[in-house]
């Protein structure tokens, strides 16, 4: 810590930072454009000019850019010096020479960093009276809108897209005041993180195209702090609503999880919530078709069923909250409650939970993952199964080479200089996968194999690190790969192992743990991350002892007449015939879900379940972090949290029925003391800041009295929220609420997302009040966990037989986001991928249509080549309607069309 003087006031500050981030962390206002806390300084925009003095006697000083100014002890700087003020205002005036005055029709208006900074500098009169340069805009795909005329050339877009996220198809073209940021030619932005351009761009060049379809100004939105439900990472989001429509999703900063960014599935996958296929009222099957019934009738009807049946099967869901799963379990009784996933998946998740709980290495958070310096991925196509982890890994891979820049005394914040010194070098990064992945461009070495071979390689790596089991290598490629991987992991300070459930291989999960344990035993600060399939895979499994196969088997006796299915399309998860047979056993099939699907179509009673936007609850992410999400609005239909339906069905049974979220949690913790910590993941409903609730809408929310005027001129009372400390109004506490309860970012003068600076203790760091969420598992000190004994894979393929593996698609493999129109445009048509040599031998060309046997059904699919699958291995996209219910991996025969 050193002493810094800003405008003659002394501060104790960290000398490893630059003057801009230091001033912002102190809470001072200093305008900037090109600097970004995650991407650091390049000194391009010249907006953060300050005056630097030689010493305390120097009165003249010299103009410098705060973002490029290192902090030194006894440094004297001024933000308020007249020449600095004049320069910053002049800089805005210069930027405005080419910026159109189109704020009223610009989607960024009202949350525009350029507007904020313009006001901050005091510039308000333009002297420029000549024509402005104009550009053509490009079609960039379904996610991001392009309006280049608004560009102020801060270079943040290309720095994020290329340097931070590894994208290749966005760049800067031309020179002088004609510089152009876009693609070489129009087309869909290829990066899975393209949506971050919307938040990274300080003005309206890159805006959210999905928001544009149902546009609302920021100040007119009702928002809730939420958790993305579209993979297992649990990125924090802000979901926003007006007139009953979910308008957009933004990243909600969590310094421990996703930081400033989101993947495109998370950002643009919300639109299914507004789908016409939503189930919005209870319905009952009458004479073969569904007829709407009232909430009361539905509750009475189901209560009647419950009271006449002793036993009802309850099927939970890895997509639903702990609270919903728990209350269903409570409603049907633990013996009749089943996790909503097949056993082969459930057992893998249990294995992961076991390792998280009792393993001896730390599972880092998404943010902590950025700090590791050697990576080994086993079996996961991370960009498609846990996209934001791929973004973290792209940062981690810079750690080892960045040491070179540090040795040249280049501070970490000097981004351009660091990149120059490093020359794009990447640190040790090894991938063992079944096929090519999107992270291959940063890989040191890549190994392709079947799940069995990947696990064997993992065992061999563990063996080479810390001889335990006397494993010998099966082949030369595995031997050299394992030698390279183990040497690199041992040479690193902080090696990180990543695996997951996507290939349905327990051996991979165990081998990954063995490697991490071996590294730990060699004294390394090793990390171990598992990727699991869904938002609450971990949490929902912790509440269930049985799986879908158990349900199918136990029901076969015919003793059950009713089944209650929570937010779960069984046809996605189980074989169609088996599921048909299972559902046929019941007289009453009660489905709580959001969208019509095969299961709801086969049900007898439907209850409209709330998506994350209409429900409160808790989910547990892949690292074991419990996080709360809150309802965004109270829909004008019957949609509500599933646990509220269960609570309604249980009232009257006894006096202690939980009705509100906190009561459900109390009840849950009483039954599962291990989950105690979920309670502190967010403040309770009774929490008040300065005696007030936290408003979901900003103070400037407009038209409140007009919205309902068509129905009734008297303003209705806003809905109460007994489940959280949030209110559905603009009234309430003004200021910074606890992080878990932050529905939007705003601070006087800071209307854009960059108001987040004011919510952080130090810019880019922890939030005031601590990063939200509670980790449930930490490795114990001196843990003596045993290594797993893994049998080598014995499997060899027969001639004419193919092993079919699942291929994951960020856009497509998640059932719900794939039903959002923008995402749907990016979902690939079904295909079968083959090994090139296999295809050549069989005379199959790319695009040829071949016959595939899927669960006994013949399907004709076009062939895709060149994805690096091993010989004898084929791949099918997971989660598409055409591949729903397929059990991966499976063996099959292939037939070429016409050669039958």
């Amino acid at each position: 810590m050193v002493k810094l003087f800003i405008d003659d006031k002394a501060y104790e500050v960290d000398e490893s930072k630059n003057a801009l981030e230091t001033a912002l962390s102190i809470g001072l206002n200093l305008p900037y454009f090109c600097w970004h806390p995650a991407m650091h300084s390049v000194g391009a925009c010249r907006q953060c000019a300050i005056v630097k003095y030689k010493d305390e006697h120097d009165t003249k000083g010299k103009l410098v850019m705060a973002c490029m100014e290192p902090i030194a002890d006894n440094l004297h700087i001024s933000i308020e010096a007249p020449e600095a003020l004049a320069f910053r205002a002049g800089n805005i005036e210069a930027l405005m020479t080419n910026h159109p005055h189109d704020c009223p029709i610009c989607d960024e208006g009202g949350e525009c960093h350029l507007q904020d900074m313009t006001v901050m500098t005091g510039h308000n009169q333009r002297r420029y009276c000549y024509s402005k340069r104009t550009h053509n805009n490009q079609y960039l795909g379904p996610f991001v809108n392009h309006e280049m005329n608004r560009c102020i050339q801060c270079y943040r877009c290309v720095r994020f897209y290329k340097d931070y996220a590894g994208g290749k198809d966005l760049d800067v073209f031309s020179a002088h005041n004609d510089v152009y940021f876009g693609r070489q030619e129009e087309g869909v932005l290829e990066s899975e993180f393209s949506g971050n351009l919307v938040e990274v761009c300080p003005t309206g060049v890159f805006t959210d195209k999905t928001l544009k379809k149902h546009y609302t100004r920021k100040w007119d939105l009702t928002n809730a702090p939420s958790i993305c439900h579209q993979c297992s990472l649990g990125c924090n989001i802000i979901a926003s609503e007006r007139y009953g429509i979910i308008r957009r999703v933004l990243s909600r900063y969590n310094g421990d999880v996703n930081g400033y960014f989101l993947c495109d599935r998370g950002r643009f996958g919300y639109e299914y919530i507004n789908s016409k296929k939503r189930i919005i009222a209870p319905a009952k099957l009458v004479n073969g078709s569904f007829a709407g019934i009232t909430v009361n009738d539905a509750v009475q009807e189901i209560k009647a069923i419950i009271s006449t049946e002793n036993n009802m099967i309850g099927i939970g869901s890895p997509k639903a909250s702990l609270e919903s799963n728990f209350l269903l379990r409570k409603l049907v009784g633990p013996a009749n409650f089943y996790a909503g996933i097949p056993a082969r998946e459930g057992k893998l998740i249990r294995q992961v939970i076991e390792i998280l709980k009792n393993g001896k290495v730390k599972t880092p958070s998404l943010n902590e993952a950025k700090a590791y310096d050697a990576i080994f991925i086993l079996g996961e196509d991370v960009t498609n199964t846990a996209p934001m982890l791929a973004l973290s890994l792209r940062q981690a891979v810079k750690n080892e080479p960045n040491e070179k820049a540090r040795a040249l005394k280049i501070p970490d914040w000097n981004d351009a200089a660091t990149r120059e010194a490093v020359q794009g070098a990447t640190g040790p990064f090894f991938i063992a996968a079944a096929h090519d992945t999107k992270l291959d461009d940063i890989a040191t070495q890549i190994y392709h194999g079947t799940p069995g071979r990947i696990a064997d390689l993992g065992s061999l790596v563990a063996e080479k690190i810390n001889r335990q089991q006397g494993i010998v290598s099966a082949d030369a490629e595995a031997e050299t790969t394992a030698s390279n991987v183990s040497a690199a992991l041992l040479a690193a300070k902080r090696p990180l192992i990543i695996a997951g459930t996507s290939l349905y291989s327990g051996a991979i999960i165990q081998a990954a743990a063995n490697i991490a344990y071996a590294l730990k035993d060699q004294g390394k600060d090793a990390g171990l991350i598992y990727i699991v399939p869904e938002a609450n895979s971990i949490g929902s499994i912790m509440l269930a002892e049985q799986f879908l196969e158990d349900a199918f088997q136990n029901a076969a006796s015919g003793e059950y007449k009713s089944v209650m299915i929570l937010e779960n399309d069984l046809y996605q998860r189980m074989d169609k015939t088996d599921t048909d047979n299972f559902l046929r056993l019941f007289t009453n099939i009660i489905s709580l879900d959001y969208l019509e699907n095969a299961t709801t179509r086969n049900s007898t009673l439907l209850l409209p379940a709330g998506t994350f936007a209409e429900a409160d609850g808790t989910v547990i992410n892949n690292e074991g972090r419990a996080q709360r999400f809150y309802q965004v609005h109270v829909p004008k239909n019957d949609v509500r949290s599933s646990w509220k339906w269960f609570a309604a069905l249980m009232t009257g049974n006894n006096g202690s029925t939980p009705v509100h979220l906190d009561e459900v949690m109390d009840s849950l913790i009483a039954a599962f003391p291990a989950l105690q910590a979920i309670q502190s993941a967010a403040p309770p409903a009774g929490f008040r800041e300065d005696t007030q609730k936290i408003p979901r809408s900003p103070q400037r929310y407009s038209g409140r009295t007009a919205i309902h005027a068509a129905e009734n001129v008297s303003e209705p009372r806003p809905p109460a929220d007994p489940d959280s400390a949030l209110s559905y109004t603009m009234e309430g506490y003004v200021g910074i609420p606890p992080p878990a309860l932050t529905p939007f970012y705003w601070s006087p003068g800071w209307n854009s997302v960059q108001a987040i600076n004011k919510y952080q203790i130090e810019v880019g760091g922890e939030l005031h009040g601590g990063n939200p969420g509670r980790r449930l598992f930490e490795p114990a000190e001196n843990n003596k966990t045993e290594y797993f004994k893994i049998m080598p894979s014995a499997y060899s393929l027969k001639k004419g037989e193919w092993l079919v593996l699942p291929l994951y698609h960020i856009f497509g493999s998640d059932e719900l986001s794939a039903q959002s129109p923008a995402i749907a445009e990016r979902v690939p048509p079904p295909y079968i991928a083959l090994n090139n040599a296999d295809a050549l031998k069989a005379g199959i060309a790319e695009g040829a249509i071949i016959e595939v046997l899927l669960n006994g059904n013949k399907k004709w699919l076009p062939v895709k080549l060149n994805i690096g699958l091993p010989e004898g291995v084929a791949g099918l996209p997971k989660g598409l309607p055409e591949t729903s219910g397929v059990f991966f991996p499976f063996l099959t025969t292939l037939k070429i069309a016409g050669n039958d």
């Binding site: 020479t97 080419n98 050339q153 005041n177 280049i410």
Partner: protein, 430 residues
């Protein structure tokens, strides 16, 4: 055969043929060429840097930084980076400047020898000549000459049996004024946009491909063999001031004899203008002069006795720059001249930092308005604003501050000319 007539007072140009055809390797060797290299290779690298430092040689590209000082920033200790680069900046694009071209075309081996000695001094293993694309003839003769140097063993492995290895590559740039700025040049050489880099780190620490690098101007490097051959004292004494050596001075504009002369550093502006350039052409009166190329401040008649060296020209309120003067006459509109320059600088801005990218086109538009008779009185305030807005330190590199030099001095010295444009609603020269 080429006849040698030595003129030690003009070391750089003494051997350049009247028709400007290049000296072949043989011809260059017959003038004593590559003797300095052989001598240098017997010396300790640090010793060479010491001599160059003592000689007072300053960068001839315009900034005037001590060459020896620059070289001494390179770590040549045992712990030094194994790969280092030396780059000759032959991206001569300063308006009014054509001095490097003369050396490149006429005596390419002099430059090559200078590069090899410089590379040895900093223990570089690879060197580049970064050439402006428009210098086609220079490109041709450099290609031939580098080839000859390789064949003669002056480049490649174990140069002249010394154990020192150096490769050299000619890079013909796509041509931007920006590439004259050494860090932008390095980016361009790496295949990146020719944007400048923030300093620190300096190229001597993290330069080309992130390795320690020295960038020197063609004229600077061409001096090096002569300094090694004749010593620091000899070089110092060549000049009329404490700053060593000769300088290639040029003159353009409506002078009687536009041209280029190698003269002792520090001759007076008057001597250059009157004795060498022959004064104004018939029918023209002197109004002012840009002493060092397009990006330097105007000087007036009262400044004609200023010695043309770095310190003296700076004291007079301008810069020696490239030492190639552009003379403004009474039949040329000063506003038009400045407009022409600003249009060039605006066009050549890389677009990286706001003041240069947005400010230069704005000044150009104002100057255009003045010239076309639509200028307003307040435009002069806006021009004045820009000269402060784009002052040194406010922009990312020196391009825009350089561009402001002719403008700010024109506003100072030719204010009435600007006012006439506004009051008469037209250019008085048209």
């Amino acid at each position: 055969m080429y006849s040698i007539s030595d003129n030690p007072e003009k070391p750089l140009t003494q051997h350049i043929k009247h028709d400007g055809a290049r000296l072949t390797l043989k011809e260059y060797e017959s003038t004593g060429g590559y003797q300095a290299l052989k001598k240098a290779l017997q010396m300790n690298p640090a010793e060479i840097t010491r001599i160059v430092l003592d000689s007072g040689l300053k960068g001839r590209g315009g900034a005037g930084f001590s060459t020896g000082k620059k070289w001494s920033t390179i770590d040549i200790s045992e712990n030094a980076a194994p790969i280092k680069y030396l780059v000759a900046n032959a991206d001569e694009m300063e308006p009014g400047s054509f001095k490097d071209r003369f050396l490149l075309e006429g005596n390419p081996h002099q430059l090559i020898e200078g590069i090899i000695i410089g590379a040895y001094a900093i223990q570089a293993s690879f060197s580049y000549v970064f050439l402006r694309w428009a210098y086609h003839l220079a490109g041709k003769v450099l290609t031939q000459s580098i080839q000859e140097a390789y064949e003669a063993g002056y480049l490649g492995k174990n140069i002249a049996g010394s154990g020192f290895n150096l490769d050299m590559s000619l890079h013909i740039s796509v041509g931007r004024y920006m590439c004259g700025e050494e860090t932008a040049l390095l980016n361009a050489l790496e295949g990146k946009r020719a944007n400048p880099r923030a300093k620190p780190p300096y190229p001597s620490n993290s330069g080309l491909f992130g390795k320690p690098t020295i960038v020197n101007n063609v004229e600077t490097l061409s001096n090096v063999p002569h300094i090694i051959n004749n010593g620091a004292d000899w070089f110092l004494k060549l000049s009329k001031t404490g700053e060593g050596g000769t300088k290639l001075y040029g003159a353009s504009g409506k002078v009687r004899k536009p041209g280029l002369w190698e003269l002792p550093l520090g001759i007076s502006l008057r001597e250059l203008f009157e004795d060498h350039a022959g004064g104004m052409a018939d029918g023209y009166q002197f109004r002012g002069v840009l002493p060092g190329g397009g990006s330097t401040d105007f000087l007036l008649e009262e400044h004609l006795d200023v010695p043309m060296d770095y310190a003296s020209v700076a004291k007079a309120g301008s810069r020696l720059g490239t030492g190639t003067i552009i003379v403004l006459d009474d039949k040329t509109c000063p506003v038009g001249m400045v407009h022409n320059l600003e249009r060039f600088f605006a066009q050549e801005s890389c677009g990286w930092c706001t003041p240069c990218r947005e400010g230069l086109p704005w000044t150009t538009k104002i100057l255009n308005a003045l010239e076309t008779g639509t200028g307003k009185t307040e435009d002069l305030n806006v021009l004045e604003f820009h000269t402060h807005y784009m002052a040194p330190g406010n922009t990312f590199c020196a391009l825009a501050p350089g561009a402001m030099e002719p403008l700010q001095s024109a506003l100072k010295y030719f204010k009435t000319d600007f006012e006439m444009h506004i009051n008469e609603h037209k250019c008085p020269w048209k």
